[in-house]
Amino acid sequence: MTPQLETILPRTETGPVSATRKAAEQGTTAAILAEGVTMRYRAPKRYREYLVSPFSSRRYTALSDVALELPESGSLAVLGPNGSGKTTLLRLIGGLLYPTAGTIRVRGHSFVGGGRRPFCVGIVLNEERSFYWRLTGRQNLEFFGCLDNLFGKEVQRRCSRVLEHVGLARAADERVSDYSSGMRQRLAIARGLLADPEVLILDEPTKSVDPVGAVELRRVIRHWLAARRATLALATHNMAEAQELATHVCVLGKGKVLAYKPTAHVCEEYGDLASFYADVSRNGQDRDACA
């Protein structure tokens, strides 16, 4: 391991267990606390395996021993190449997946085991296929609002507000099937913000949005974060986006945390996130080569 990489890898002795204790002593709760989180997906069986090993299952590892602690007022950007485990980490934070090993707590609460959530989590993932295409944007939002216990005039008022915020007010009553990819992405962000969530999870939130629209959406998210004192976890390939929205950055590589640092420290040390990311990725590759 190169000395430089050693300084940016999360150290276990200052890791989450002591962080939990420290947080408890100080009476604060970490916004996100991951301890030894491993996620191993079940791989589909082949016909032959049903005969040869009917009771065993094949799995592949998407995340391995991830540990990080995001302070109470922090927001997290997860960076990394395709297939590095970014979306898996976000799904785990949002409770859409349960870890194979380890624990993950959001604002002191674990979602494992289901049950009623003590606070609302807005999740924006894989948006091309997550709406009813025969309904209008507004009708979709009204339906998803009811799942978060919003009804009647309240949901209508909120729908109008978020649609206005994401720039879809004029297209609100058009069918989602007539929306462009960028418009569906905007609608997804509107759905994420609809219930005024305490925690917002965004997977590449502006990936198909035009550059001007992306700037505007980031402004909306930033304002919302400030007003709501909410927790944000986002995955992105856009360094400017990460730098603008996140107080902390986590770089993943092949399912492992390569680096986890406050954004301000990174910018102080490297000038910008892009240089930091390039450095971490290069060192990660060097380490793999040595191994």
Binding site: G114, E128, S130, R134, L135, F144, L147, N149, F151, R191
Partner: protein, 269 residues
């Protein structure tokens, strides 16, 4: 709040289904066509076989109308929960729904509200058409008994239906419950012919199916005006099945969603 949520689910499905205008209209025609088939078929079924129809008034057409119309309705309870899950998986909306503050079990139950209500209209439509146009006499019908049996049957079959949805969450396709109960129920449950016509060993299998008791009780209520005390045996059996299967189905579905979240396969289809 439950009523408001049910209404929102109903509204969603009504909007989607009514946007397919041709299908929306043809559905009623499709419901009526089998009725005509059985009307003409019933003209052939007279004579020797009529003795097995004596407990139901002696005529085949009223017998089969009740059997086919209600069996169509019962199929909804058996298949709709699994179909809803599969549709949501394929449309990509399942994950978005399960991320909200409504439990997965509630999501699946409410997702079927529209189908139950619309198919109830179909059922009433078929029974009315068969009475007004094809001369079936529902004069003796005991509506209270009919309603009680209907509710108990839907509750017990919904238990199986939700269990079936749990299989779909885990196995994605090829659900054994729907296959077995669905296909065996229509054959052996007494929808098209009296169970008493079958050999003893098939009658034993038929006795394991909730639809056998449901159709028997419904015919007695609708064609002979049987009261609830007269149908106590069927009411008791259907009630017992509902009490066991409904919570079992909801529990199994919650477990299946948990498993999907642990294995990371919830959104696979």
């Amino acid at each position: 709040m439950l009523a408001l949520k049910t209404w929102e689910f109903f509204k969603r499905d009504l909007r989607i289904e009514s946007s397919y205008k041709a299908a929306f209209l043809f559905e009623y025609a499709t419901t009526l066509l089998p009725l005509l088939t059985f009307y003409f078929l019933a003209r052939l079924v007279r004579g020797d076989s009529a003795s097995s129809l004596t407990p139901y008034g002696g005529q085949y057409f009223p017998f089969v109308v009740v059997g086919v119309a209600f069996m169509q309705y019962f199929t909804i309870a058996l298949t709709n929960f699994a179909a809803t899950i599969r549709r949501s998986q394929m449309a990509g909306c399942l994950e978005a729904m399960l991320a909200a503050q409504t439990s997965p079990s509630m999501v699946i139950i409410l997702s079927s509200a529209y189908s139950f209500l619309v198919k109830l209209f179909h059922l009433v439509f078929v029974l009315t058409a068969s009475a007004l146009l094809l001369g079936v006499d529902f004069g003796p019908c005991n509506f209270l008994s009919m309603a009680v049996i209907l509710v108990l049957t839907i509750a017990s079959l919904s238990g199986l239906g939700i269990l079936s949805a749990a299989f779909i969450v885990v196995m994605k396709k090829g659900d054994p419950i729907e296959w077995f109960i669905g296909s065996v129920s229509s054959l052996l449950g007494g929808a098209l012919f009296p169970v008493s016509l079958m050999p003893e060993w098939l009658r034993t299998i038929a006795a394991l199916l909730p639809t056998t008791y449901a159709l028997e009780a419904l015919r007695q209520a609708m064609l002979n005006g049987a009261t609830i005390p007269m149908l106590w045996r069927d009411v008791l059996i259907l009630g017992a099945i509902a009490v066991v299967l409904l919570p079992l189905g909801v529990w199994a579905f919650a477990k299946a969603v948990d498993k999907g979240r642990r294995d990371g396969t919830l959104m696979h289809y």
